[in-house]
Symmetry: C4
């Protein structure tokens, strides 16, 4: 079942490796079939070299395994919360890429310091609040997803305009219209986090990008008046 | 038309990837046929893997597409301003390479701290002023080109002696006698920006290179008395 | 003799190179056959490209060469002390990987600043005390092993819960249930050291991960209630 | 003539690229035939991809080209001064590798902060004084060589015990018993410079390695009582 989606999710996981975002098995990508309400995700703790599309695991939105010989990624409940909360999301990625994770560990949002960031994320990539002891002790991965959704709700942020977050003490999650878009956003987040750190080292007094440039860059690539790329659906 | 130039511009774009200056599709190279006044440039938002020489877009100096099935890079108007202002330039490159972009985001020139820099750029690589809200809202990419040219005019800088700039809040542009030379200058700019950051971390009080060493290094590679390389046109 | 173990130790040494942890010949991996009390280790100062499984050296726990045409790694006595002190260890790795070595040179433990670290190491990766002049002058490599074991004994640390250390002024050692696990822990230690440095640069006031998150992350991958990966022995 | 040496020098130049020490054409390796007093060196400004052993240039110790269709590296006079001053040196390498160059640009020696450094260099890798305006204006490259030799003479340093230097404002030179050893010392210098910078960022108060550890590490690899590697000539 869902062979095409399995292939896409497998490819997304392989692309994370190709983009040097993965150390050992630290990371996972998933995609959803919105029609059937089924999510395809990487198996837990299986090495990337040994993996094939057939090893992807199919779960429903309650986390019940529908198909697959492996256990799904232990982060599955976090992915599911994102799919449940945000109907336009159809792909989710989690990595421990170095610089985005460093911002997460520092409990700091990734500031928007330039047009590279503004092209991908409409403002700073927020940091969640830390989870409480209770949230960690029971249903930890589900609560990780909940705290991501809460972060956007309380901050009145649009998850399709800022398709990523850093979870305090933990690391980045990104998402998009499909698994491939979530991968590209993971690549972009690591790149802008690395640039932000270098920028802060060159000029510790640096301030966020002016709103008028942020608006220009974001809306030239996204939204009804976009003119970047080959067409608006690109 | 312009098959040779298309091949050269395609190769320049591929070389940017090979030199690890490109994340996703962030960057573009172009070249000009000065005889016909036509510019060949990378298509917008097309992935590097899928690209072939035939996909390069031909535009005139007003930005009108003369040939090509794709839309030209959205940065085309910036490239054109550089070609219009500086007749000796025949290749332009724009990237978001990490360290050069960090200087741009910090709104700081890349200081000339050693002979590696002096071999390529005759003094610091300047940073433009930030664009105003008006310049951003209408004809943004054209104004980006204009602010680059203004930066060199007001600073009385020779664009052939300092073949690069960092646009405030944005990132680096480089140029040269052809697209390949513009690529090499992009590689050099990223390398010297990375070294400059490390140098400032080792010695925060570091001062720019003395003028007599700058002159020596620059003129041993460039100008009528050059003795570096195999001949003066190299 | 011990052909399978030689193959595994050879592969572990090759994997260190593939994971970019090795400069020139700086590093070594070993494995033990607990039944026979024999250790297989990389030969000293032989280049990685020229090495084959048959070049691995077999020594007993006193360091006497049992088989092999080469001299064993000069770090062999350090490895042996670890095998002698900790019966559950069956693989040991020593590298000079950049960031873990930087913490060693700074005489600082690698702090546990996030869940990436907590997934692999149950708390900070400790730094040993510096060796005394006497310990250095005679039986230096043996004393290096002894100071590692002392560090865990005095700190009441479980070497299977924190399978790594940085030796003051020197560099990292890691270990595990076999040579491959020791390699993975070396990869993890370099990754978390690199992230820790970046985290400290973003937020110099960062504090260690709260105990309740450390416990959660460590025990979801390790121990009787682990639910990460495909089974508990994984 | 000197086909074997040309092959070795060609290989040394190729190895510098393989070790990621070279940006564009910035760097060169040479070797000497002490019997004939002839030096083989990389041609100036020729790309590494296009180069073959037959392109190496043969010069005598006065810098006169004895054989070769290309001009020798513009840094040839610096190499020659090293060969003239130090009879045990038979290979010289110059690069602009990032971290060693950053120490040069910061006009700081590369401090000996750990055993990785002590294994290769018997103490800090010194920085030369800056060249005067007169030394730069005439015979610049020859004076670069002279200031390296002066640095070791005035500091009473043994060039075979500390086979490298950073030239103020410029970059690293390394040397050794042949071109391959000079390459390995260039690799080591970049690695220890990178580690030193990270160490200083973790602990700004870090002090140099104690003399007793420096002695131990250096002399276990070098000199009559060496026990590292497969034999004393290794």
């Amino acid at each position: 079942m869902l062979e095409e989606l399995k292939q896409a999710v497998f490819q997304a996981n392989a692309d994370l490796v190709a983009h040097n975002l993965i150390t050992l098995t630290w990371g996972n990508a998933s995609g959803i079939d919105r029609g059937g309400g089924l999510v395809v995700i990487k198996p837990s703790g299986v090495s990337y070299e040994a993996m094939s599309p057939a090893d992807m695991v199919v779960v429903d939105l309650d986390g019940k395994v529908v198909e697959g010989r492996y256990r799904p990624s232990s982060d599955t409940p976090s992915h599911l919360q994102i799919y449940i909360a945000w109907p336009k999301v159809a792909g989710v990625v989690h990595t421990h890429s170095c610089c985005a994770t460093a911002f997460a560990q520092a409990c700091r949002a990734v500031p928007c310091l330039g047009t590279t960031h503004a092209d991908q994320f409409y403002g700073e990539v927020p940091v969640t609040r830390p989870l409480t002891a209770e949230e960690v002790q029971a249903q930890y991965e589900l609560n990780t997803g909940k705290v991501i959704v809460e972060c956007f709700r309380l901050g009145r942020l649009d998850p399709m305009a800022i398709p990523g977050v850093v979870v305090a003490n933990h690391g980045p999650f990104t998402w998009g219209g499909d698994a491939d878009e979530a991968v590209k956003n993971a690549v972009a987040l690591e790149a802008v986090a690395k640039m932000a750190l270098a920028t802060m080292q060159i000029n510790p007094q640096v301030t966020p990008l002016a709103r008028y440039i942020l608006d220009k860059h974001y809306f030239r690539k996204h939204g009804p008046d976009a003119y970047y790329g080959q067409d608006h659906s690109d």
